[in-house]
């Protein structure tokens, strides 16, 4: 029996059915015309699931390679129910996939998987980051005083992991014939955009601490101190020069106010 729904009721019931197969949706308002109304609604449910799952596959290829299609698609279904898409721009969908994977019992035997997902989300953010003109010279850089800070390119991202996440990511997408041997150590990764592509490298802990401090607007002095707390032999000038060579410094600005929190990228 057809009951006239308002447009608002119709859309709310329709959307609920797209996100949950157990919800019948506005079936009584749908003309069957030779098919069950539920079957017609199910076409949209499948389509919505496929569009959003496909977006996650594109963003998370290494996670997909590590867990296989069946487990990935099942996780994607669970994820979109728990964390629905909020935007008409699909590039914004999937930000919390790593946190969702952490909650899955099936992922407990892959404890590194959430960090691989974090790395892949950062890869996407690196591709899509704003452009900014790098500076060529740091003649005005005063490494003796604490009154300046480094402005990093917006495409630069950092990830610190307890797992060898960079090695695992490479192995997932380009498996070698030899078995992957992991020594149990974590890896700290820097990501940036180079010629329109994502570039990645692992960093020693002191360089990571220094660049993370730059990313949090620390003064040069404080960034150096943070790095030297990790490694007393850390050389600030070498770190700054390597950023400069990769065109990842976009400005040198007066240092304004200290931050109380320690630098962290997670």
């Amino acid at each position: 029996m057809h009951t006239a729904l308002s447009l608002s009721e119709l859309q709310q019931q329709f959307m609920a059915a797209l996100y949950d197969a157990d919800v019948p949706g506005p079936a009584t308002s749908i003309a069957g015309n030779g098919l069950a109304p539920e079957a017609r609604l199910h076409i949209y449910r499948n389509s919505c699931n496929e569009i959003q799952t496909s977006a996650l596959r594109t963003t998370y290829p290494a996670v997909l390679a590590l867990v296989g299609e069946a487990f990935f698609d099942q996780s994607a279904r669970g994820y979109r129910r728990a964390h629905p898409s909020h935007s008409g721009n699909l590039q914004a969908f999937g930000e919390t996939f790593a946190e969702y994977l952490e909650t899955l019992t099936g992922c407990r035997s892959f404890p590194y998987l959430p960090d691989v997902a974090r790395l892949e989300w950062l890869r996407q953010q690196t591709v899509l980051a704003p452009d900014s003109q790098p500076i060529d010279l740091v003649e005005s850089l005063d490494t003796s005083g604490g009154s300046q800070r480094i402005v990093l390119h917006p495409s630069l991202h950092l990830l610190e992991s307890r797992y060898p996440v960079f090695t695992i990511w490479h192995y997932a997408l380009q498996p070698t014939s030899t078995r992957l041997v992991l020594d149990g150590g974590g890896e700290s990764v820097v990501l940036w955009r180079e010629d329109g592509e994502v570039a990645m490298a692992t960093l020693d802990p002191a360089s990571f601490a220094c660049i993370a401090a730059f990313a949090h607007d620390y003064s040069l002095d404080d960034a150096q101190a943070a790095a030297m707390a990790v490694d007393p032999d850390f050389a600030l000038v070498e770190c700054v020069e390597s950023l400069l060579q990769r065109r990842l410094i976009t400005g040198i600005k007066p240092f304004v106010a200290p931050r109380k929190e320690p630098p962290t990228c997670r």
């Binding site: 057809h2 006239a4 308002s6 447009l7 608002s8 119709l10 859309q11 709310q12 329709f14 959307m15 797209l18 996100y19 506005p26 009584t28 308002s29 749908i30 003309a31 015309n33 030779g34 098919l35 109304p37 079957a39 017609r40 609604l41 076409i43 949209y44 389509s47 919505c48 569009i51 959003q52 977006a55 629905p84 898409s85 909020h86 935007s87 008409g88 721009n89 699909l90 590039q91 969908f93 591709v127 899509l128 980051a129 704003p130 452009d131 900014s132 917006p154 495409s155 955009r193 329109g196 592509e197």
Partner: protein, 288 residues
């Protein structure tokens, strides 16, 4: 509504273009293949920077451009997503496309987005909502927009209009342009059982600024025929025939080949575009 288009905007010609998708961006940028015009999804340019913007900076100097949105959700009862609309306005101001389009559908409600093109009931309530939203977008963008008729796999009970009268009335009341997707008309004619030529006849000819063509797939093992607007194949013969009828009715209109799944080599898209050009040329030959 007039378009405050800058003088360097290249008009989209009444010829065949293609939807520019990621696998072909580098080749189009570097080799400048002969294509009358290009269309890109607006949302693919929503990021603040990156390689697609770099490529489009060069591509838009070589080709007339259309921006086609898939995520604004014009027909949602919820208010329009302000951030989405603001970003669209920035892109329109930056890229100065001659054509800007969205879909006659809804896609989101209550902070959940389907990222799909969902059907509206053809009621007076939905019609008024669409007219009001199109007005809001045209006012925000300061220019005309086109709306596209979508493929659907269900019809709601009741309703005050046929689909074609609904589309025509939205265009008439809002003053927007119409992006007539001929494949979607054919798909719906099979899925819902009507004569697609009746649909074409009902459309306001002067409002039709663009045509879309694409391939569909057929759902098997169902008690009724059901076509899916998959954008995954060549344009079907029946759709080519309907396109020729549309051109006879409307005259030559910028026509776009869309292909979004199982995207083939650029040559296949160019071949489909050449077929559309033949239809346009045949009409012009007869019109002389």
């Amino acid at each position: 509504m007039t378009n405050p288009i800058a003088t360097d905007v290249q008009p989209v010609p009444a010829a065949a273009g293609i939807g520019l998708r990621a696998p072909h961006v580098a080749r189009v940028r570097d080799e400048h293949p002969r294509i009358a015009w290009l269309e890109t999804h607006s949302e693919n340019l929503f990021a603040a920077g990156g390689p697609f913007h770099d490529a489009m900076d060069r591509i838009r100097a070589d080709y007339p451009l259309s921006l086609h949105g898939v995520g604004l959700s014009l027909g949602s009862v919820d208010r329009l997503d302000d951030a989405h609309l603001r970003r669209l306005r920035e892109l329109v101001n930056c890229y100065q496309p001659e054509l800007v389009s969205e879909h006659l559908c809804w896609g989101a409600i209550g902070s959940r987005h389907s990222n799909d093109l969902l059907p509206l009931p053809f009621t007076e309530e939905a019609l008024r909502l669409m007219v009001s939203r199109i007005g809001q977008v045209q006012e925000t963008l300061g220019r005309e927009m086109l709306v596209e008729n979508i493929s659907t796999y269900l019809r709601f009970e009741g309703g005050d209009y046929t689909e074609w009268d609904f589309v025509a009335e939205v265009v008439r009341r809002s003053g927007c342009g119409l992006l007539c997707d001929v494949n979607n008309i054919y798909v719906n004619s099979v899925n819902h059982g009507f004569d697609p030529r009746v649909y074409l006849d009902a459309l306001p000819r002067e409002a039709i600024k663009e045509i879309h063509l694409a391939g569909f797939t057929s759902k098997e093992n169902l008690p009724v025929p059901l076509l899916i607007d998959s954008h995954s194949r060549r344009v079907d013969t029946q759709v080519w025939n309907l396109y020729a009828d549309a051109i006879d009715l409307f005259g030559p209109v910028p026509t776009l080949i869309e292909w979004d799944q199982d995207i083939p080599a650029l040559e296949v898209l160019l071949d489909e575009a050449a077929h559309a050009e033949e239809v346009l040329d045949a009409h012009r030959a007869l019109a002389v």
